[in-house]
């Protein structure tokens, strides 16, 4: 057997079922990898060594007794630090939640535990998921395993980097405007944002309630389908959860891998290609579309004229919702409390102001102020109200496009990974990274990103995005698996095999 950390989650599940390995062995292998490379990559904010090994032992005991609880029982997973974990710190990448240990599990986490997946730890992220580079984490940036001087995407750069660096077989991310898909694109991994309401948001610390959605972060389409089936489905604790069964995703992925795309109509979104996209990203996209054509798909160009306004609508709706959501950090019930300097007996409001100044980073402050502005009387109609109307127009664009095509495709992000620090103080340039991913969040439709190859100008991974109508998440997996199979055939192996080997920190230097 090749080294367990290089294998897919599906292969690990098979190896467990065949009795070739144990969950403890797999969990130890990944913990050792974290020790070896995470000093450099910094994908994790917290590693739960003891907890993960205990869960692995329990999994092995279940298996020995013939009581395994599902196909992934015993396969370890990493969880983005925006989902609450009982007994494990949950910081959301913010000082304001430093050392906070929630008293309850998010539903996604409950389902991981019920399915027997040991939780390796919590992954780094932009503070409260605001960002596209993970540089806005209060605990320092995550680095891209392809080039440690570059960003791993964001906000879920920790989950994507952990998977790309083989520190975890797969991970959970969350996607509000592209935070699963864009990190996937720039790290050469797979990420899926399910249909809004397809995965419970209970215990997902809200950035923007009407946009947030948790989903799988993996190295293969099949692994994503397996993980998606574990976490998806109705949850009475989330009133926006869809009360319908999740479509058969694993089956769709297996079917798609056979490669027959006859009868499939693929819509290339005119507004999400061409100008503004890095030549190598565009070239890999065009080749991937041709591979789908070769597999029997028909390609049509579709126009979504209002997508050009999606970014503006998003940067009004998101800050508006975020400024309301983050009002709960008031220094009273949980999280940081800072007393202002120079005030002898400060009142609650003064303590709240001092705490929020000390506890929030620049990007969070920018967005809270922007949201406060957009919601203030006199501007509400011009900004927030207009943005909501644009949201309607974007949904109508999707509806029209899905009349002409079964799935829509585009490059996931306009560029490959940029250098750390390059866009840190240029918020608008940072926001443009999400130009192709945001429309899906505004309309609630599902989206998937998979690696399309390396851009020749910098040798870094590019991403291919597939979008489907709401509740048709299975189409993402069918088409994604077909394209993945064709690309693997072309490359002669996984794209991550071309990533440079990471220097390992000697054991003595860790712990």
């Amino acid at each position: 057997m090749s080294h367990p950390i290089r294998r897919t989650a599906a292969e690990l599940a098979d190896a467990l079922a065949a009795g070739e390995t144990t969950s403890v062995e797999l969990t130890e292998a990944h913990l050792a990898r974290i020790d070896a490379v995470d000093v450099e990559v910094h994908a994790f904010l917290h590693v739960d060594r003891a907890g993960a090994l205990e869960q692995a032992r329990e999994s092995d005991e279940r298996r020995a007794a013939g009581r395994s609880v599902g196909p992934l029982d015993g396969v370890p997973v990493a969880v983005k630090d925006v989902l609450t974990t009982k007994g494990l710190p949950t910081t959301c990448g913010s000082r304001i939640l430093e050392n906070w240990v929630p008293p309850y599990d998010a539903t996604v986490v409950t389902r991981l535990r019920q399915a027997g997946l040991p939780i390796l730890g919590k992954t780094n992220m932009d503070e409260f998921a605001m960002g596209s580079s993970t540089e806005h984490s209060a605990y320092g940036p995550t680095r891209n395993p392809w080039d440690l001087d570059r960003i791993p995407g964001g906000s879920g750069g920790g989950s994507a980097a952990a998977v790309a660096a083989f520190e975890a077989p797969f991970a959970i991310g969350t996607d509000t405007g592209g935070s699963i898909r864009q990190p996937g694109a720039v790290t050469g991994t797979v990420g899926v944002k399910p249909t809004y309401g397809g995965v419970s948001r209970y215990g997902l610390v809200a950035l923007a309630n009407s946009l947030d959605q948790a989903g799988p972060v993996t190295r293969t389409i099949l692994d994503a389908a397996l993980l998606h089936e574990v976490i998806g489905g109705h949850d009475p604790l989330d009133s926006t959860s869809i009360d319908q069964p999740v479509p058969p995703l694993v089956e769709a992925a297996r079917q798609g891998a056979a490669g027959d795309m006859k009868g499939l109509r693929v819509g290339v979104v005119k507004e999400l290609t061409g100008e503004g996209y890095q030549p190598g990203v565009q070239a890999r996209f065009d080749e991937a579309v041709q591979l789908l054509v070769d597999a029997g798909a028909a390609v049509v160009e579709v126009s979504c004229p209002h997508f050009v306004h999606a970014l503006a609508a998003y940067y009004l709706i998101l800050p508006s919702e975020a400024s309301s959501n983050l009002a709960k950090f008031d220094a009273m019930r949980y999280g940081l409390r800072v007393y202002p300097e120079g005030i002898a007996d400060p009142n609650a409001e003064e303590v709240m102001r001092a705490t929020r100044d000390a506890g929030f980073g620049d990007e969070v402050k920018r967005r809270i102020i922007l949201g406060t502005y957009a919601l203030s009387s006199g501007y509400y109609d011009a900004y927030y109200g207009q943005a909501q109307k644009v949201r309607t127009l974007i949904s109508r664009d999707f509806a029209a496009a899905f009349e002409a095509a079964d799935v829509l495709v585009s490059p996931t992000a306009p560029t490959t990974a940029f250098k750390l620090g390059e866009k840190l103080d240029d918020p608008v340039a940072m926001y443009l990274n999400d130009i192709a991913t945001i429309p899906a969040n505004l309309a609630g439709v599902p989206g998937l990103s998979l690696p399309s190859g390396l851009a020749e100008e910098d040798g870094l991974p590019a991403g291919f995005q597939i979008l489907a109508p709401a509740m048709a998440d299975d189409r993402l997996y069918r088409v994604g698996a077909a394209l993945e199979a064709a690309l693997l055939d072309r490359w002669g192996g996984p794209l991550l095999d071309s990533a440079p080997a990471l220097a390992e920190t000697p054991k003595e230097a860790v712990r």
Partner: protein
């Protein structure tokens, strides 16, 4: 729509209960002006008759049976509190000195 001024940013920060220092205001105010400029076009896009969307999926009210169910214990609920007193959240004074 008018540009956002430094004073306005200070006022908004005040409304959002964030104590921004002068240095932070100098840093953030121009950035916010640039962000606002980049989203200004929104006001000219949609016509009067377009209905707003607040939520991506068509939703109606969701009800459940009003039955007791397990919840956090007081200790659990207080476990992250900055300060606890007599099984309650202890907070700074809430009224001004002249109240």
């Amino acid at each position: 729509m008018p540009d956002i001024t430094r004073d306005e940013v200070a006022h908004l920060a005040d409304l959002a209960r964030i104590d921004l220092s002068d240095a932070e205001l100098d840093h953030l105010a121009p950035q916010l002006a640039v962000i606002l400029d980049s989203i200004r076009s929104i006001s000219e896009v949609a016509a009067e008759d377009i209905p707003p969307t607040s939520h991506p999926m068509p939703l109606t009210n969701v009800f459940r049976e009003d039955l007791p169910r397990p919840c956090l214990t007081a200790e659990e609920a207080l476990s992250g509190a900055p300060q606890v007193e007599e099984q309650r959240f202890a907070v700074p004074r809430i009224l001004g000195e002249d109240a």
